[in-house]
C-alpha cells in the first residue's frame, strides 16, 4: 500500500485505525533502525519508536501533506531520538569531547568489534549530532538532500556541507583503525 492510500485511510475517522496499522507495518523496521543508529541500545530504540508512532497518531491531523508522510515520520523519530540523547546526556562530553554513544556502543553484546561495520558505526557515533543525523539519512536511508531538509529543517547547502565533513571524518577514523 502506498503513502497516498494510507493518508486517505488516516484522514477518515472511520478508517483511521486501519490506516495507522498499515502505516506502522510499513515504517516500523526502517524507523527502528534509524532510531537504533542514533540511540544505540535496543531498549531505548523501542521506547523512542513507540513514542514516535504515538505522536504520529496523535498529530496526524496536523499533517498537511506539505512534505511526504515518510519524511514527516522520520522528522518525529529523529526529534524523539535526539531528545532521548539529550535527556540521557549521550552526546558529546564537554570535557574530553568524546561521545558517550561510542562507550554505549562498545558495551553492546554480540557485536564483532573488529568488523568494518563496527568500525564505521563507531566513526558515525563519534560525529557531532547534526553530521550524524545527515550522514545516517543519506548513507543508510538513501534520502535526497531535499528529503533530508524536510526531516531536519536545514537548508540543502548546509546539509551538503555537513555530509562532506562527516564523510571526511569517517574516512579518517576508519583508515586510522585499519592501520592500527
Amino acid at each position: 500500500m502506498n503513502e497516498k492510500e494510507i493518508i486517505e485511510l488516516l484522514s477518515n475517522i472511520a478508517t483511521r485505525n486501519e490506516g495507522f496499522r498499515l502505516l506502522v507495518t510499513k515504517f516500523r523496521e526502517p524507523i527502528y533502525w534509524h532510531i537504533r543508529r542514533l540511540v544505540v541500545s535496543h531498549e531505548d530504540a523501542e521506547d523512542v519508536m513507540q513514542e514516535c508512532f504515538i505522536n504520529v497518531y496523535k498529530y496526524i491531523d496536523n499533517f498537511k501533506g506539505e512534505s511526504s508522510l515518510k519524511t514527516w515520520i522520520y522528522k518525529i523519530a529523529t526529534n524523539e531520538a535526539l531528545r532521548l540523547c539529550t535527556k540521557k546526556q549521550l552526546d558529546m562530553d564537554s570535557y574530553d569531547q568524546k561521545s558517550r554513544l561510542v562507550d554505549l556502543f562498545s558495551s553492546e553484546k554480540n557485536i564483532d568489534f573488529d568488523s568494518a561495520e563496527a568500525s564505521l558505526q563507531r566513526a558515525i557515533l563519534s560525529l557531532p549530532e547534526k553530521q550524524r543525523v545527515v550522514f545516517n539519512l543519506r548513507y543508510y536511508e538513501e534520502m535526497s538532500y531535499e528529503q533530508i531538509a524536510e526531516v531536519t529543517g536545514s537548508s540543502v547547502a548546509t546539509l551538503k556541507t555537513n555530509y562532506h565533513y562527516a564523510s571526511g571524518k569517517i574516512k579518517e577514523y576508519v583508515l586510522k583503525n585499519m592501520e592500527e
Partner: protein, 123 residues
C-alpha cells in the same frame, strides 16, 4: 593517507537484529495502547464526589446550630419563635373558620376522641 570508499563497507548493521516476532508484537502492543487511549476516561469530579458529604455536613451543621447555638433572639430562630408564640391564636383562628360539621368530623377523627380527661365536661 590512503583513499578509501565508505560505500565498500555496505549498509549492514553490526547490531544483533531484534527477535523475529519483535515487530509484530510491537505493532500489537502499540495498537492496543492507542485503542486504550481512545477510550473516554472517567473524569474525576471533586464536586460530584463531595456532594453527598457536603449535604450531610450541611444538614448536621443546621441541626447543631438549631440545638446548641440558637437563642430566641437569634435571627435564625426568630421566625419559629414568633410562630410558636402565636400558635394558640393561630389554632383558634383556624378552628373558628370551620363549620359545625367539620368540627364534629375533626373531633371524631382526633386521637383524643376517646381520651377521658380531654372529654371532661366543661363548666
Amino acid at each position: 593517507m590512503r583513499d578509501f570508499d565508505i560505500n565498500t563497507i555496505g549498509k549492514k548493521m553490526p547490531y544483533q537484529a531484534p527477535s523475529e516476532d519483535f515487530f509484530e508484537k510491537f505493532t500489537d502492543d502499540l495498537l492496543a495502547k492507542v485503542a486504550d487511549e481512545q477510550k473516554p476516561k472517567k473524569v474525576f469530579s471533586l464536586r460530584r464526589a463531595l456532594t453527598p458529604v457536603l449535604s450531610v455536613a450541611a444538614a448536621i451543621a443546621v441541626i447543631m446550630t438549631t440545638l446548641f447555638m440558637g437563642e430566641p433572639g437569634d435571627d435564625f430562630l426568630r421566625g419559629e419563635y414568633i410562630i410558636s408564640e402565636n400558635l394558640d391564636e393561630s389554632i383558634d383562628s383556624f378552628l373558628g373558620s370551620l363549620t359545625d360539621e367539620e368540627l364534629t368530623y375533626l373531633a371524631a377523627a382526633s386521637s383524643y376522641a376517646d381520651d377521658f380527661y380531654a372529654n371532661l365536661p366543661t363548666e
